[in-house]
């Protein structure tokens, strides 16, 4: 009896976490630190899985375990239809996302593409792009891509739109609604994993191991 009510209480505590997962969010150390720490605990994960069973869902994670999301438990036709649509959508958004990752890396002079925990400020972009016509043009192309969907011709508005979309898609978190800085989430890890997966499955001629003397393909 006591055990029962304990169980119930601990599930109540998991309410907000479950709600986010059910809504299709990706949970990681950046997007929701407290929830992510809870998900590190195997017993908690098992309890969540048991709760999700009647909803035909289960907890899933990527290889590094840096991000959690919900997967179908049993795949029926409807689920497969939904997955096909979702996959097509993701594949469609792949190029703009990859171009954005490249653009950030170049504009901010980083060593690699954005990784989880990186702080990004739109203001940094505007100043870099104002000084560099090439970056400016690429940003413009990217911002007006249907995926980002900017209608504006103003640089700042375009950047704002790009960041807004990325926040909506869960790739960035904006800790304070009124402050213009963003933190990259581990959903980026997921995207990279997916890219690697597609490369492997389709045997695309893309090599990610560095040959000597050819470090930058950009």
């Amino acid at each position: 009896m006591i055990e029962e009510s304990m169980k119930e209480r601990s599930l109540v505590e998991l309410g907000p976490l479950l709600e986010r997962l059910l809504a299709g969010d990706f949970l990681c150390a950046v997007s929701d630190d407290a929830a992510f720490r809870r998900l590190q605990d195997e017993a908690t994960r098992e309890r969540i899985d048991a709760y999700l069973r009647p909803l035909n869902r289960r907890l899933a994670t990527n290889e590094e375990g840096s991000v959690y999301f919900l997967a179908w438990r049993q795949l029926d036709d409807a689920a497969r239809d939904q997955l096909s649509r979702q996959l097509a959508e993701t594949v469609g958004s792949l190029l703009p996302m990859l171009e954005w990752l490249q653009l950030v890396q170049e504009a901010l002079g980083r060593d690699g593409p954005v990784s989880p925990g990186d702080v990004l400020k739109p203001a940094d972009f505007s100043s870099r792009c104002e000084d560099n016509q090439g970056l400016r043009e690429r940003l413009e192309r990217l911002a007006t891509d249907p995926f980002f969907g900017s209608q504006s011709e103003q640089l700042d508005a375009q950047i704002k739109q790009v960041f807004k979309r990325l926040r909506e898609r869960g790739y960035l978190r904006q800790p304070h609604a009124d402050r213009q800085y963003f933190v990259a989430t581990a959903k980026i890890d997921y995207l990279i994993d997916l890219v690697r997966f597609i490369r492997d499955e389709e045997q695309l001629p893309i090599d990610d191991q560095a040959p000597a003397g050819q470090e930058r393909l950009l």
Binding site: W72, L83, D111, D207, D208, Q209, L217
Partner: protein, 418 residues
Amino acid sequence: MSASDPDALDNRLLGTGTERLALLGKHAEALMAGYVRDEVPLEGLSTTALNRLLSARILWRPDEQAGVKLAPKVRELIAEMLADETRRHVNADVAETLELMRGLVQSYREARDAAEYWRQEQQLLRLRQAVDDLDGRFADAIDSLWRRLNSDFGFVSRLADKIRENARAQKQIKRLLDGLALIDFDELIDLVGADGALRKLLVSQLQHRLSQHYTSLREVQRRLIELMARFRQQQSRSRLVSGMAGFLREHPGFVPGNYARRGEVPELVNRAAPLTAAGAVALDHPPDVRDVTELLHHLPTPAAAPEHVAVAVAAERHEDTLIAARQQALREDVERFYLAVVEGGEPPSALEYREAAGLDWGEEIWLFQVLAEFQGLPRREQAAFRLHQAESRAGTFNDLRLIHDVRLELCDAPREGA
């Protein structure tokens, strides 16, 4: 007498040393210019000053024709003072120091046995300095390694350079650890014998310091390996991102397999559809009623709008919906016409169909919608129909074409989906 000679020697050393150290300060600018460039600029230096710097071995000249350069030790000194990690040098040569220490211990013993206290003192001093040097060398090297690690090798800008610098640092650690392994404390214990001062210096003190260095080196090595893994991961991600982006740009029509249709759906692709946990006000739970009432009272009152404006808006909306409904009806009638064509038989023209079906759309509107429907069809389906336009010129001198009627036919080999 033996005491006065060493004093004189000390004084001479002191005098010359101070004089030469002062040279460093006096010509600091020229020396720093030589540090950042390849050669020391000679413009500001007099011949005497140059000769003094050369004889103090602060500068050297590789050959007569070549310019004057900083001596390696001075360069090292400056690098050390500036913690300039691009030029800082790690000296892991322990074997020579050990050799020196063995000699000094021997000499110290002989002096002690001969009761030459001053010489004994001197040897102990030099021994202490040798031990300090060894200790300092490891401490410096470790400091340099930590600095490089903590700055993520920020002194080089490219990732590939960072990877190389990291590899170089790891090799240095390896050499330092090898150097530490050369120090055999059993041998040192034998060497110092029963002498308390030596034992303190060479065994307890040195051992304590070196074991600290060993721990630090292991730690910094572990962190360097971690950082290297991160660098490699970044590099691999960077290449993957640019590689895939390049591929997709070159192959705009690329579509990967539909992994969702496989028997075993890959883990990454399996992302369940979002569910919203909806909730609504319910009054079947009496204790909640008060809360709900409270909420109701706190609802913001809608701002009262002047009545005539509200009426006007409603009327306009009404008209909008009316037009939309007419539009929809027209579209549906046109669709029925297309279906009639598909169903076969001798297809009537658009106007004949309108007549036969008793539709009251205006001729122009009807034809326009039939054409618009055709234009709006997906290309594949469009190809299944053939559109004939009965048209004529508007006038003898006017090449404008007027469409009188439209006849729609199915193509000979109708495709699926038409």
